[in-house]
Subunit: 304 residues, 2 copies
């Protein structure tokens, strides 16, 4: 039942109108696995440099994350520097230093290869394919991507999508990948590339899931103090995959609940810098916010 | 139980990437009352010029709308010319000719003054106040406004809001009116101006309702062919107020259902130019789409 994630572990420097963080723990695999750790066992695949602080390693272990797949390479850890203005939906990248991530080749420890649930975070689609080649019998594969790969590695990305069950993608990127400005048509086109479902992430507007037989709309939780949106998409994916791996059933019902758990984790993530909010959650707090989502969206059906 | 609306009746020329309409029937009161006519009796207050086509009068009558409050003034009817690009959330006004609307003073026929439900569409807040002064004992007053009045008549607008139960407003305008970029804080600030509830309209992202004790998020219906968003906000308000006037009960439960009916009417409105889609609806179609909203948003709660 274990869940494998491959992605980045990074040191982020982030500035928002509400403050800033310098060289804080970040990266897609970090956010994903921290969020998912509240639901199930997570095995992380990523790379860091020799400069990666030992305290971050201790943190990941403390969250119960399996880091046997975390390589330590000669060189410096991946660094990202970004800024958000009052429109917190839009990150402005100030600097990207790939460092050891530039030559990252994911190698899965033997114990990871039986994993049934796999999340391919936003990395080069060639690496995503390499990871899939190392998993013996995945039951559910989800992946994320971004405009960078859509523009530069479109063919490889589409090849990867043939092996993917669920794609999570930002709204603008869904339009770009499909070439259609209408989201319903965009989703249908992307489904034709292979995935059985696509989850369109819309930041503060929530998420929309499309499959052949179902459409589901989830709002974002209205938050009074959004401090730092970094990692919201990966925290969403962590809650989403974590729930599915936990309940061991994949159907419209569990996928809808998983989308709400994903939205719950994203809503916690943005309440503080880095993983500061997410690292001190409880099942009770997570379930409490799930129930808030129910209240937020509930309306009585018509009498039949 | 009747419902009065005061607003504009106009001739709209609209261009979208999917086609155009010339001098088509439009105006906030027109969209509102057409949508509301499927739910309850509607009494319209507005003004047109001598050039207003007789066929539009016949159309309004055919929809069962009471037009005794529709003044016919010397001069030309209000005209609006607008354009939408692929981002259909944003209208670009090309030309506005107020014509007879410039000197409009709403005078309610005697039969209108007992109305219990009142919608003040987006007009000068001074006129909104004048209308309220003519209604004896309103049970529920809702109103709309826009950046033009927020910027030019802020004081009058805030005076009007003291008498308003529910404000419907676009997202950007909620931020502008409140002076707060965070929507939760913006809503709370606007509630302090007087309304018991505020409904923030977010175009293709749906609507958010805030009251002192409740928050409700409704998605927009994902539509494959959005032809013309003109009138979506007023169609929303028409479905919303129409439902409340029909069920004669105003509480969290009926307000949530009313927001869905509003979203249903807005979703029909955008499927064609002018009122072309909305004018040929049935209760069955409206209830069918209401049920689609239920499917679109439903997820199982946690076992307690």
């Amino acid at each position: 039942m274990s869940l494998v994630v491959v992605g980045s572990v990074a040191l982020d420097s982030v500035e928002t109108p509400f403050g800033k963080a310098e060289e804080a723990l970040g990266g897609s695999a970090t956010y994903f696995s921290t969020a998912a750790s509240y639901f199930t066992d997570v095995k992380l695949v990523a790379v860091v440099g020799k400069d990666f602080p030992e305290r971050h390693i201790r943190f990941l272990k403390r969250m119960g994350i399996d880091i046997r797949g975390l390589q330590k390479a000669d060189g410096r850890t991946f660094r990202w520097k970004g800024k958000y203005d009052f429109d917190l939906n839009q990150a402005h990248t100030l600097d990207t230093q790939l460092n050891v991530f530039a030559s990252f080749r994911p190698v899965l420890p033997e114990e990871y290869r039986e994993a049934e649930y796999v999340f391919l975070a936003n990395i080069d689609p060639e690496l995503q394919l390499e990871v899939l080649g190392q998993i013996r019998k995945p039951r559910l594969v989800a992946c994320d991507t971004m405009n960078f790969w859509i523009e530069r590695k479109s063919r490889k990305l589409k090849e990867t999508l043939k092996y993917v069950d669920i794609l999570t993608i930002n709204e603008a990127e869904a339009r770009e990948l499909s070439g259609d400005s209408n989201l319903v048509k965009a989703a249908r086109r992307i489904l034709s590339f292979g995935p059985r479902a696509i989850i369109v992430k819309r930041g503060e507007y929530g998420a929309l899931m499309f499959s052949d037989s179902s459409v589901f709309a989830a709002p974002a939780y209205p938050i009074e103090s959004v401090f730092d949106p970094t990692g919201a998409g990966d925290s969403f994916a962590g809650g989403f995959m974590g729930h599915l791996a936990r309940v061991k059933s994949i159907n419209d019902r569990s996928i809808r609940q998983a989308i709400i758990f994903g939205s719950v984790m994203a809503s916690f993530d943005v309440e503080d810098f880095s993983l500061n909010r997410m690292k001190r959650l409880t099942s009770r707090a997570i379930e409490g916010r799930f129930r808030e989502f129910k209240k937020l969206t509930h309306f009585e059906d018509l009498k039949s």
